[in-house]
């Protein structure tokens, strides 16, 4: 989050399918927008409603949850439970007026590298359309902090740190 204009999208990926597909998109050198940050979960069923809401509360612009194909979950039906939870979170986002569009669940297999690049692009474009999250309040302060840290970093690296 370097500039206030830069969007940040979290991709919450299950280890067995979506994360593997993201890796494959890498080995195929498929390009997708740099806004997407992947966070790995053992299964999408570990993704709690609260994680989604907390990320939005902290100012994330969009979240994509990516799990195995329906019927193909490594943990049998984790992705189905995750979908229910994502739907619940979407309902809450609509209720509070942030809008359900900033959150989406996708299903793909570990062999679908191109599909990962596609959904990352799709989500990015959707969030571009929606604009930055209105909850990004206070980000300026954060940026100031980061800038401060960078100059501190120079000093630290030049000197010594234990």
């Amino acid at each position: 989050m370097d500039t206030d204009q830069e969007l940040v999208i979290l991709a919450l990926c299950c280890h067995y399918c979506a994360y593997a597909a993201a890796d494959m998109a890498g080995s195929m050198r498929l390009q997708y927008p740099g806004s997407v940050r992947v966070l790995r979960f053992p299964c999408t069923s570990k993704i709690e409603v609260n994680y989604l809401l907390t990320a939005f509360e902290r100012g994330i612009d969009g979240i994509l949850v990516a799990g195995c194909l329906e019927g193909g979950c490594h943990f049998l039906e984790g992705n189905l439970r995750a979908r229910r939870r994502v739907e619940r979170a979407k309902k809450l986002l609509d209720e509070i007026g942030l809008g359900a569009g900033r959150l989406e669940m996708f299903n793909l297999s570990s062999a679908e590298g191109p599909r990962f690049a596609e959904i990352a692009t799709e989500m990015h474009e959707r969030v571009v359309e929606l604009g930055p999250s209105p909850l990004r309040r206070g980000r300026e302060a954060v940026l100031a902090g980061v800038a401060g840290m960078a100059s501190l970093a120079e000093a630290v690296i030049a000197g010594e740190k234990t």
Binding site: Y32, G34, Y51, G78, A150
Partner: protein
Amino acid sequence: MQASAAAARAMSLLAPARGTCIRTKVYPPQRDVTDEPPRIGVFICHCGSNIASVVDVEEVVRRTAVLPNVVLAEHNIYTCADDTQDTIKDKIGQYRLNRVIVASCTPRTHEAIFRDTLRDAGLNPYLLEMANIRDQCSWVHSAAPDSATRKAADLVRMAVGRAARLVPLTEDTVTVKGAALIIGGGVAGMTAALAMADQGFPVHLVEKSEALGGAARDLFRTLDGLDVQAFLAETIDRVIGHPRITVHLHSHVTQVEGHVGDFTSVITTGAKTRQVEHGVVVVATGAVEGKPTTFGYGQSPRVITQRDLSGQLARGELDLPKGATVAMLQCVEQRTADRPYCSRVCCTMAVQNALAVRERHPDARVVVLYRDMRTYGFREIAYKKARQAGVLFVRFDDDAPPGFSLGADGAIELTVRDAIVQRDLLMRPSVLVLAAPIVGQHDRQEVSDLLRIPINADGFFLEAHVKLRPVDFASEGLFLCGTAHAPKFLSETISQASAVAARAASILSRQTMPIGAQIARVDPDKCVSCMTCVHVCPYLAPIVGDDNKAQVQPTVCMGCGSCTSECPAKAITLHHYTDAQILGAIDRLLNAGPGPVGPGEGAYLEQVGVARPRWTEG
């Protein structure tokens, strides 16, 4: 599947040499880091030019070095190189690091390597965190290096947020009971039994009927002309004579308790029961030929199934008048809305029987009425042979099934609309042979309830993954083979059963088995006994214990986290994916979290007992 089967065959040859070439690696004792504040070392990899040609690695180091709890950040050309790993071990000692982050490639390939590095340095392997700045950054943003550098720094920052809250985990072990329990004494069960017994493992083979052999007792020749009965007799002899196989005839498995590596089961034979201990269970309960209820089956002795016909041919019982017509009807009561699946073997069986009829009765007219001929693979050759031998194949459409009538004199009249000439064909066959479906065993639900294994919509047992784990059940230590899984040929059953033996040996050949540390644990103080976890776990890992509180059976838990995401009291934690660790990553990414983490503070506001108010501040 075939590869595993081949492995099983090889392993039975190598059985005496098992374990003789293994060298056990010795690790230093693990340092206790509980009372230390997190001291994170971050090693950022160039991956040659894979990362460094896009990402400004030094910039990432600068941004990382200033993050809370980070005491060392440096970059290396190849972090996975042996000398760099030695450097990491040195730095762990020199800087008293107690958390290590490697920012490089994917943990899917390299996590195990770096975990081993930590173990070598006396750190618990679960204190490693990785940031994937190659596969998910430099490779996919090569056209936007600035953005890639910022993203790489973010990914490392997330890793720092998570790493600060990582805790050491210990993997428990269970002692493996080196025997197998096989349910079903057909070809699948016997093949698996022999393959395992030949590898040196004791086997309990449980058969519900009074004899071994299963459905193969009604099979006589394979398409290649091999004698099934001779093979069966030889197999049964070998099974009965094998010193390591105990055959339980007329028996049922009535109770199975325990988990992978350590099961205790009860085999009931008549009024007697016997308790056996074993490390794996193989379900080889087979399937049966579904008896048709249409086309006069059971009303006329001249309406038979393909299996009946092959028996009559084998015993020389097929008696046909001169110039007789033999009609074969495919897809009877299958590939319909009620039973949508294909029984896989009937087309080949029809072709095989048609050829045999033509051979014995050259004057007989053989007409095969079909929807699609599915003589897949090399079986196509037999189909071609049958066409050339003058067997008449008539295709009909699904929506125009043949008309059938049975006269008072027992005469069969069959009409079918030929889909190509678009005309009705009328025949009065001497014999009508039906391709009956293969259906699951009637007692499959009992087996399913006993072992808690899933049955698919077609009535067969469901494997864990059709490609990745084709002979395993989703629950560890349970395997399946043969027609209990789906209709299949004898040869396919044999290779699947051999594959099971190889997979099972990967468990049985161990003295002990580690139980993954990434499992769910219940805090009984917080548990309100609502049963939600029991309802949501697909593996039935949570049970309600003697104290009326939920507990997750560690050996059954697969570590998916389903229960932890639903527990309304937040009483369940998934080790290595705690709220603190996940929210730590998210907070650090969005620069919203608290400052440095202190000693023993990994808990992150979440673990406060139930009777006390549980404060969380927004």
